[in-house]
């Protein structure tokens, strides 16, 4: 994410909710807070329809994270 931001491109990371503390640590280590949208956990056991549902839940937040009105 840092590489992408250094090149001046707005970006958002999609991360499982369970990884919040990991993201906090990464931010502390690298001195950079990327835009993050958290996805409801769990992910691995879901079927395709359930994964699509997750996408529907987050699309507005994703667009919001990428724009600066």
């Amino acid at each position: 994410m840092l590489d992408i931001d250094r090149r001046g491109v707005p970006a958002v990371a999609l991360v499982s909710e369970e990884f919040r503390s990991g993201v906090d640590s990464w931010q502390h280590l690298h001195g950079f807070r990327p835009a993050v949208v958290y996805v409801r956990h769990p992910i691995q056991p879901l079927n395709e329809a359930e994964l699509h549902e997750r996408a529907d839940e987050i699309i507005d937040d994703v667009i919001g994270a990428l724009t600066h009105p």
Binding site: A13, L14, E18, G31, I43, Q44, L51, H52, A55, L66
Partner: protein, 92 residues
């Protein structure tokens, strides 16, 4: 009697970097969907691509070779060169 210890750590990352601002709207722009190649992520990105397209936002698909290592510079150069914004996922 004082004890002198050498510090085994490095100072935390220096001043925080502020991230770049996004555009006012994504309509008509290209969003790069960068798959980090963790299992299941591609299906979620598939659906996001559809949803973006419904909102007049073009989606481009890109992928890291593996989620276990940082993205090679070539992948980053390509996606940042071809896209206006990037959605990277899915980390779990």
């Amino acid at each position: 009697m004082t004890t002198v210890l050498l510090d085994p750590t490095v100072p935390g990352a220096a001043t925080a970097r502020r991230r770049v601002d996004g555009p006012r709207s994504l309509e008509g722009l290209t969003a790069g969907l960068l798959d980090i190649r963790k299992r299941q992520g591609d299906k979620l990105l598939d659906r996001l691509e559809v949803l973006l397209s419904q909102r007049g936002i073009r989606g481009g698909r890109y992928a890291k070779p593996t989620y276990t290592k940082p993205a090679p510079a070539g992948v980053i150069e390509q996606v940042t060169g071809e896209c206006d914004v990037i959605i990277e996922g899915l980390a779990d």
